[in-house]
Amino acid sequence: MVRWICLFLASLGIVPLCAQTESGKLKEIDVDSVSVTAHRKVRPEVSVGTRVSEIGVQVLQGNQTRSLSELLANNSMVYIKSMGQGAQATSSFRGAGSSHTQVNWNGITINPNMSSSFDFSQIPVFFADNVTLYHGNSHLKNGTGALGGSINIDNTPAWDDTTRLRAFAEYGSYDTYTGAASVRFVKQRALYQTRLYYQQSDNDYRYLNKVLTNEPFYERRQEAQYKQAGLMQEAYFKVGRYGTISNNLWLQYGNRRLPQPIIVSVTQHEKQRTLGLKYLFDYTYRRDRHKVSAKAAYVLDLLDYDKWFDSEFFTSHDKSFNRSQSFHLIGDYTYQPSARVDVNASMKYSYDLVDANSYSTARVGRHVAVLQGGVRWKTADWLSLSGQVMGEMNDSKFAPTFSAGASARLAPKLSAKANVSYNYKFPSLNDLYWQPGGNPDLKPEHGFSYDVTFSYTPRLAEGLYLKAEATYYLMNIDDWIMWLPTQSWYWEPRNVQNVLSHGLELSTETTWLTGDWSFKLGLSYTYSPSINRERNFEGDNTYHKQLPYVPLNKANVRLRADFRGWLLTYQLHYIGVRFTSADETYSTNAYTIHDLELGYDIRVRRRYKLTPRIRIDNLFDAYYESTQYYPMPLRSISGSVTFTF
């Protein structure tokens, strides 16, 4: 037993790689030094027609004290509906619903299997090395359910990076403390990395409440305090000439109050404690034209909820506890029979297991098996084609799907790609089993999706570069699930709406390098009509109306200037009007927020770097709401120091 525990901990790098001797003592194993031969790089397994956006390293590092919700809200085309800093934040990708964004961590789906809707406020950016957005549902390998798109969070071993330690501390308005550290230990054939993160905030910003009573009054945000802590342990090993083993363990703890809307006289309190554990083992073998990988993962989510009231008479607490587990096994094989062709096949098996008070049975499980095959073919120097087919067996229900794409270089700096696909999303376990109301007869939401993207990447002048992309997409989502009351007056989910979502995604990134100056200007804009395209009954006023909380317009501007270690970043975020009722009767206001950041890199003896930064969020102190009646922080200032060794 001790051996197994030891091996497991060793594999994570928590203790040095060790082995048990005959005498029971532990000794270090010498890892043979083997040179790694260069081999042909296997191309990314992306459908060639898919629009893929990667959030740059500079942006990730600039947001390392923040959560993924803030990162995506300010630096991507995804709309984040937030209830405040540290509070629940869900997404709308290409006009789809919050459960239609698939979130993958190193290739493992981590959407909660109870609700499917991912809360981005609980993911520190510090734990992500890469954040990649796959727009639309065409990249089938991201799994089913990604009707709007998927967000992939990856950790990658940087074998050549000499950084050993990165640590920062930040203090911000409303008593927000953040601290984090990352320690790396690299041997010739092993890499260990430990990351720790902690943030807490009173989050009691002051604002003018104009909606509760006749006389507007200033108040401080109540019930919004939170704490977050995380630990990520990674261990990577080179095995033989061609193999690598990756171990990732991620523990994430959250303890937060759930804020009330400001139209409520606050006399109730809700507290939510969450503990997430994710473990991934990955063995990848790359040799010449072959790449084989096998993954095994375990995901555990615990949620402890407590509600109580300010009252002399009813002092009892309303409590619930849910435990959700997922087991994943993935096998994947890619083969390049020629320089122009990639063939890929994968199979996945996952088992979801939920223990919840509110389900029809104390324990609910679901088996999901997926087979996928795909091919990419570079038919000519200027043209690539791809196709993917997939079949999912979800308990006893089978759903097949496909994707086909093309990418063409139209001119030296101009390229185009297009995609057509069909995808679906099975109901969440809440939809199926919640009591009362869970509906086992629900059909999967499903629909076709089409998009076309043009990319233009000219060099405008000496040191001046442009990267521009424009996409038009169109997708149908049929049998959209909504919770509605039954004749017996309890609410149940039903396949109700057929939705048409189409729109434009425009982005540019301009880089100008001149002398010691470097400027980068990023602009992005999305136009996202997303409407109920069928009348469900006579007099249905939701017909051809924009879905609630899907903004028609969203824009981001980001300007970064670097000069001899100095850094200045200015960001502007615009979110258009969002309707809050299904018939467009009510809406919440558009807003524009400006942020500013200034930093400087201080080099000490070449090896050490100290980076003090000061950031002003919401520079012009605008009152705004991402979710109606949940005010967001007004102007806030934070200062941080990052130490890198």
Binding site: K210, V211, L212, T213, N214, P261, I263, V264, S265, T267, Q268, F309, D310, S311, E312, F313, F314, M482, L484, P485, Q487, S488, W489, Y490, V496, W512, F519, L521, N536, F537, G539, D540, N541, P548, A555, V557, Y570, L572, Y574, T580, S581, A582, D583, T585, Y586, N589, A590, Y591, T592, I593, H594, N618, L619, F620, D621, A622, Y623, E625, Q628, Y629
Partner: protein, 382 residues
């Protein structure tokens, strides 16, 4: 470079940090108001609204917001006119809005400092009223200063929580679990409660009715509240605080020969009366067709009437409500001619309708707010 900065600054100026404010509609009026619909609005969304409908059929869908430039609150429950002011309970906002009739200007807000879910308001004096609650408490409020005076625990009564209330003379009659709780208006306390046993749970959505004979009518159910197997109307003498008689509507079996008859009872039922208070109007399920193939019955909601001097409902429905899905509120106009039903459509957070079923068989619809739940006639203003 300068140009680039200029463009940025200009665009920043255009998109200046701001949040547009809704501007109040200065003139929400348009003729005399016949009725007001209370719209719940859906939990957490702040769509609680009052819809004013004039005699000439014009509907002002969210008149409070139009006039006051702010939302009324979250989950509106009821409207009660006391001393010439409307008291509108906002269940989830934990407050009561005090509204001036006709103008719909907000006169004040009574906010709770302790937990509560205000439901209905009944006056107990010139200056005070009692507010019922989804929790086992009553709340005493000041009608002039708009303050909560007292939170009154009622757990020891054993009636659960109290919803509907009616003041008769110097007594306050309240619907509890399976009893009527009676207070003297000058002693609304835990210890001052008396109870009238009904033997069945009260239908909390059905308002108590004081008839022309000064008798109190209360509805109870068997089975479950959302799918009752039997309803009973209890006639209570307010003076003696006893049940004098009961009326038990008999549902016919859903068979071919009973097409056209009453065959069942809707969940969370309502009842109302008219100006004369000589009739009680109750919705039942009427079978309009029967299919031998599979033995399925097609039913509509229909309003049946009970003459308060009789012991049986009229066999023929007073009004049929074809095409109506789920009723979320019902009212009879003071003339006893039209039936008004709150229709929430498919409950998908869109504005619903007040459906009027007229005596001549015609129907009219008025667009109201989201989740309409109660219709109030201004004729009953005091």
């Amino acid at each position: 470079m300068k140009k680039l900065f200029l463009i940025l600054l200009l665009s920043a100026g255009i998109l200046a940090s701001c949040s547009k404010n809704d501007t109040p509609d200065p003139d929400p009026q348009g003729g005399d108001i016949k009725m007001i619909v209370v719209n719940e609005g859906g939990m957490g969304a702040g769509f609680g609204a009052l819809t004013a409908i004039t005699y000439d059929g014009v509907s002002k869908e969210d008149v409070f917001r139009d006039v006051n430039g702010r939302p009324m609150g979250d989950v509106a429950q009821s409207i009660t006119c006391i001393n010439g002011k409307y008291f509108v309970t906002m269940n989830n906002s934990q407050k009561i809005e005090v509204v001036e009739p006709k103008t719909f200007k907000s006169l004040g807000v009574i906010t709770y400092k302790q937990a509560g879910k205000p439901r209905f308001v009944a006056p107990i004096s010139e200056n005070e009223a009692i507010v019922s609650d989804l929790n086992p408490q009553l709340v005493r409020i000041d009608l002039n200063t708009y303050e909560v005076l007292e939170y009154i625990p009622i757990s020891s009564i054993g009636a659960g929580y109290i919803e509907k209330m009616i003041r008769i003379g110097n007594k306050l009659f309240c619907t509890g679990n399976n009893v009527i709780v009676v207070f003297d208006v000058d002693n609304v306390t835990d210890g001052g409660a008396r109870t009238i046993a009904l033997g069945e749970n009260t239908v909390r959505t059905a308002k108590p009715i004081l008839d022309k004979n000064n008798k109190l009518w209360i509805m109870t159910y068997q089975g479950s509240d959302f799918s009752p197997t039997q309803l009973t109307l209890h006639c209570i003498n307010p003076d003696t605080e006893t049940v004098e008689r009961t009326v038990v509507p008999q549902a016919a079996a859903a068979t071919q020969e009973n097409v056209g008859k009453m065959v069942g009872f809707p969940g969370y039922n309502r009842m109302d009366t008219d100006r004369s208070r000589s009739k009680i109007y109750v919705p039942f399920n009427q079978m309009v067709a029967y299919s031998d193939w599979g033995g399925t019955a097609t039913t509509y909601l229909a309003i049946y009437t009970l003459d308060v001097d009789k012991d049986e409902f009229d066999a023929e429905p007073f009004r049929q409500l074809p095409g109506l899905g789920m009723m979320y509120g019902m009212g009879i106009d003071p003339d006893g001619q039209s039936v008004y039903v709150c229709d929430c459509l498919d409950y998908s957070r869109q504005r619903g309708y007040l459906r009027e079923y007229k005596a001549d068989g015609q129907e009219a619809s008025y667009r109201v707010g989201i989740y309409p739940r109660m219709v109030y006639f201004t004729e009953y203003d005091n």
